[in-house]
């Protein structure tokens, strides 16, 4: 993966940049020793690594503003970092950059149950937002798989989703407001605790902008009262086509499950060997979960199982206890770990129209043979967000490149059938160069022109999202103007 050449002038000014940062931050918040900056050399896309020039860990919005003002004046690129769990390389440093980590900013600022929002510092982890309100019967809905570790800052940057977004939406649907620092140090408030924008919906474009428009330091999030209960049903089918039809029929019947998860045979086998959840050996497995009181759950599951039966399932297992629910979810939740037992894997994230599911799975199977690499599919079927896991051997020369080429072909297929490159992980560097397969040059230009407004010097996370060729003029002009 190509990254821009580091700015030699910045590299040569390291000592001065460090000393200026130390003027506004405590000693332990400025990490510049080369042994220590290595801790920030990558995120969860571990195939790519590069230690940053410096890493800083501010504790307040004011400190973030001070850091950005200095970096702006010095012309230093800044890469914001939440918890570093990005699968797309969103927090990958360059050698000339300052990593701005928000991990120390994890306070809950305000909890308001009557108006159903919390305001937190952006370094707080996703799960601990729910943790702060669950004793009182509330929760924060978006639930990315990494929720134990991932920060709200990163969720906002990538507009993260999760298994339950069919009903509750993704981050952007649950984000009410942010405090954000622009690259020049200006602090702005976008949105608030109210439910819509009074002017242009700038908050809407901040969410999902991958840390390229500003650094979010505080966020106001919508919280919801917890449902009385939830229960899954598991069903197995002999073909992907039939399972896809079941998903479509459930949706058309007027039920809105909180989750519809899909696993294909390679994934079922791997998880079964790993987690022993008792899954049937079949072509396609669905886990459908509904919420409500016991009676409401019964009512919805009756309808769902009736639809499921119509399509001759090889297995249909309705949970009758908390233990059974946990077992049904066990395999799905350990799917990534199970695939990881077999080999190294790359996790993709394209979305397709639900109707294209059987065709896309068939094509992926064919491509798997062509490339000679195994692939398992596990995904959020209700919304068409696929997570093909391609197996490869990182120690085998050429395997990573082959895996990346296979992945790119799958993502192009997603676009070809009317979908997109990424449903919830973000573009980062991983899908950066594929953007031209989904967008025309003008479509990319108008997006980049938004960055021109927020960050005219292109200093914030500049080598991400847009193909380097597309952004080159802007990045080099900014450099020349320095």
């Amino acid at each position: 993966m190509q990254m821009p050449e580091p700015n030699l002038s910045v590299l040569s000014r390291k000592a001065r940049i460090v000393s200026r940062l130390l003027e506004v931050l405590p000693n332990d918040a400025v990490i510049h020793d080369e042994a220590e900056t290595r801790a920030y050399e990558c995120d969860a896309l571990t195939a790519y690594r590069c230690p940053p020039l410096v890493a800083v860990l501010p504790s307040t919005t004011q400190e973030v503003a001070d850091v950005l003002r200095i970096c702006h004046a010095e012309g230093v690129p800044v890469v914001p970092r939440g918890s570093g769990t990005s699968l797309a390389g969103g927090a990958l440093p360059t050698a000339d950059c300052v990593i701005l980590g928000v991990a120390r900013m994890n306070d809950v600022i305000e909890v308001d149950y009557d108006n159903r929002f919390v305001r937190v510092q952006s370094g707080r982890t996703n799960l601990s937002v729910t943790g702060a309100v669950e004793a009182d019967g509330f929760f924060y809905a978006p639930d990315p798989s990494s929720q134990l570790a991932c920060a709200i800052a990163g969720n906002i940057a990538m507009n993260s989703g999760g298994a339950h977004c069919l009903k509750y939406g993704v981050t952007t649907n649950n984000l009410l407001g942010v405090t954000m620092v622009l690259m020049d140090g200006t602090v702005v408030e976008l949105g608030g605790a109210h439910m819509d924008a009074g002017g242009l919906d700038l908050l809407g474009v901040i969410c999902g902008s991958e840390g390229q428009l500003g650094v979010v330091t505080e966020a106001t999030l919508r919280i919801l009262p917890k449902p009385e209960g939830a229960r899954p049903v598991l069903m197995g089918y002999d073909s992907n086509e039939v399972a896809g039809q079941v998903v479509s029929d459930i949706i058309k019947a007027g039920v809105l499950p909180v989750a519809i998860e899909f696993m294909d045979r390679p994934c079922i086998r791997a998880t079964e060997a790993f987690a022993k959840a008792g899954y049937p050996d079949c072509e396609a497995l669905l886990i459908v979960e509904v919420e409500g009181s016991d009676a409401e759950i019964d009512e919805q599951l009756a309808l769902i199982t009736e639809i499921a039966r119509r399509h001759n399932p090889v297995e249909l297992r309705e949970s009758t206890s908390a233990e059974e629910s946990a077992r049904i979810w066990l395999g799905r939740k350990s799917a990534f770990g199970a695939m990881g037992q077999i080999n190294d894997y790359m996790c993709l994230d394209g979305t397709i129209p639900v109707s294209q599911l059987p065709y896309v799975l068939r094509r992926i199977g064919e491509m798997s043979k062509e490339y000679g690499l195994g692939v398992g599919n596990v995904f959020h079927a209700g919304d068409g967000n696929m997570h093909p896991l391609i197996l490869f051997d990182a120690n085998k020369p050429g395997d990573l490149e082959k895996c990346e080429a296979f992945g790119a072909d799958i993502l192009r297929l997603c676009v070809e059938v009317g979908g997109c490159l990424t449903g919830e992980h973000g573009v980062g560097i991983e899908k950066r160069d594929l953007m031209v397969d989904q967008f025309e040059p003008d479509d990319l230009d108008i997006q980049m022109s938004v960055k021109d407004v927020f960050d005219p010097q292109w200093l914030l996370n500049p080598a991400k999202v847009f193909p380097l060729g597309s952004s080159e003029t802007r990045r080099s002009q900014a450099l020349a103007a320095e």
Partner: protein, 394 residues
């Protein structure tokens, strides 16, 4: 009036024109500062392009009448979940509301509180920018984080960033049953207690409004879903509210539809000459705006979104009696600004008022200077010649 038949024609027209344009869909929502310019209508770019009920997605050209979309969805037992308001009754306009207009004004009804606004269900847009470029963003799938989300930016931009040509939505099934609980209360404080209790319960209320009454206020709470579920939740919720007054239940489907359509379209205020829409948290709206305002002024108020959306209406005479419409307007916006917990934490928009008033005031809530500069910067990128609805949003 210019009425391009398709996106290519529109793009040619814009690229060649000096403008400025007043952009309309059906012309039923004349909100914002009046715009001088040639009228450019999107109405002829019409028709549903793609509808997949099993995938819950619909794509339509921007000029498609809302009623055509609603009919197509209804035939499959589905709907636009965000319940877009029809402004004609309130604003006294005629014409055919279009789906592009719904997007341009981010029009959302009572269910916004529970499921999201128009912008939350909007999956993708196609539009022509101020240089005549044909652009797209988003798509027709439910989860999509590929590149910047200009879809949200387009929603509620009132035609100041581009002319929409095609929009795609996530839709949802129409629930089997609907029921409304009704409670008559003496004042706004009790009404708020009732709504807050309902919304902090697990009983999934999909509408919570307060309608103005003769002496007392009507609190209405909507439940939707399967019959058994609605009956169960209605029982639980009635018990939860029993100490606040007598809770009655409306179960007739037609009566429910009419009631909530009335809330959606704010018919209670249709006799008013001046109407403001105030969005703030329930606590800020009640204590910061409604209570001080009503202490000094006669006005009609409808609350929606469990108290987080206020519609304030006055006759011209009532406004005159309190210092004039302009003073009332500025006072409301000032109260919102003063009360908001964070700068910009709420806003008041003059939705209905005479042209000369709308030309004279800041119709939309003024933004903090740094935010206004960003918005202006974005507009200048999308519409460098300043030809799309110039000045409409301030």
């Amino acid at each position: 009036m210019m009425t391009p038949q398709n996106e290519a024609e529109l793009a040619d027209l814009v690229a060649a024109a000096a403008g400025p344009f007043r952009i309309v869909g059906g012309g039923t929502r004349p909100v914002g500062r009046p715009v001088e310019g040639d009228t450019l209508s999107a109405a002829k770019m019409s028709g549903i392009v793609d509808y997949e009920p099993g995938a819950l997605t619909l794509v339509a050209r921007a000029g498609t009448p809302v009623e055509e979309i609603e009919a197509a969805l209804a035939a499959e037992g589905q709907r636009l979940p965000f319940e877009p308001m029809d402004h004609r009754g309130l604003l006294g306009t005629s014409g055919i509301p279009t789906i592009g207009g719904v997007v341009a004004a981010n029009v959302s009804g009572p269910r916004r509180m529970a499921v999201g606004a128009a912008r939350d269900f909007l999956l993708g847009v196609r539009f022509v920018d101020g240089m005549g470029r044909r652009l797209k963003n988003g798509g027709r799938v439910m989860k999509n984080v590929t590149g910047y989300d200009l879809v949200k930016l387009a929603a509620g931009s009132y035609g100041t960033l581009g002319v929409l040509t095609e929009v795609s939505f996530k839709v949802l099934p129409v629930p089997e049953t609907i029921a409304t609980l009704e409670l008559s209360v003496a004042d706004g404080a009790v009404a708020q207690v009732a709504m807050t209790r309902a919304l902090t319960s697990p009983f999934e209320v999909s509408g919570a409004a307060v309608l103005p009454g003769e002496a007392r206020l009507r609190v209405i709470l909507r439940l939707e879903g399967f019959a058994g579920s609605v009956a169960y939740r209605a029982e639980q919720l009635s018990a939860l509210l029993a100490d606040l007054g007598t809770v009655s239940r409306i179960e007739d489907a037609a009566a429910n539809a009419a009631l909530w359509q009335g809330v959606r379209d704010v018919v209670a205020l249709s006799g008013c000459d001046l109407v403001w829409r105030v969005s703030a948290t329930a606590r800020d709206l009640r204590a910061g705006v409604l209570e001080p305002l009503q202490a000094k002024t006669n006005s009609l108020v409808q609350l929606d979104w469990a108290g987080a959306l206020g519609w304030i209406g006055m006759t011209a005479a009532q406004a005159e009696a309190t210092g004039g419409a302009k003073a009332v307007h500025e006072r409301i916006q000032q109260m919102v600004a003063d009360r908001a917990a964070v700068p910009g934490g709420g806003h008041a928009t003059l939705i209905k008022g005479p042209d000369d008033l709308r030309a004279d005031v800041s119709v939309f809530q003024p933004e903090a200077p740094a935010v206004a500069a960003l918005a202006q910067g974005v507009r200048a990128k999308f519409d460098p010649k300043g030809i799309f609805n110039p000045g409409l949003m301030g």
